[in-house]
Symmetry: C2
Subunit: 157 residues, 2 copies
Amino acid sequence: MGLEIERKFLVDHDKWKKVDKPEGTHYRQGYLVDEASKTIRVRAAGKKGFITIKGSTTGITRKEFEYEIPVEEALQLIDGFAGSEVEKIRYRITFMGKLWEVDEFWGDNQGLIMAEIELKHEDEAFEKPDWITREVSDDKRYYNSYLAKNPFKDWGN
Amino acid sequence: MGLEIERKFLVDHDKWKKVDKPEGTHYRQGYLVDEASKTIRVRAAGKKGFITIKGSTTGITRKEFEYEIPVEEALQLIDGFAGSEVEKIRYRITFMGKLWEVDEFWGDNQGLIMAEIELKHEDEAFEKPDWITREVSDDKRYYNSYLAKNPFKDWGN
């Protein structure tokens, strides 16, 4: 069990395009449960699979249990049991000694690019890269589980 | 992923008491999801933990994905996320070359003893020990997930 502390930001598309970055990893993630009190997510991330159980969020801290599983089974679980799904390419990039994970969403969430940084403490300081824009840590619409059900393309409606 | 084929029987308490058996294992199992289309169960079995995802049942066959997890985390998941729970002692006993799992339920399900045999094929032959009584494979009331919500002690009502 871990406590997940992360901050999330939107990304300036033009600046991000110009960033020199390593190859991204294809993610498919499906939600077997998506409730206020718990989320059960299955993720296929490149050649790895994971099942993750998360509790409710308190501030930016959230209880998280994650287990690695065979990716073939992760795909079967997503196809067989998930009520909703998101697909994205994840880039992992280091800036000023900190790891950022930048997600370019696909499908119905295309047009959304979001960056996350994982912190050890809620008040830990860090430098922001210039391709970062507005913070959305507290905005539940930017949860992947919300995007799975309410895709970005429909937000204007 | 496996296909689970099992047959379940009630147990004659008096005959079972007289059986020479190895020590049983204490099980706590909680249901994070319990729907017709899927069950997500977390089990603490002695010193081991498991998370299991099962699909809907077709005859006596059911799709099952099971992953071992640390038992301390299994207990945290049961305490933090399960909507319902059963507790039992499981005995593993071999009869005529086949493994039987016999569950003596605790708590609100006390008084229920149930035996399961896992088969390779739906029509596989096996010998029945004399402490076996009525088959309940097709009776959904004897699912552990059902017992978790509708304990045996209330069945007479």
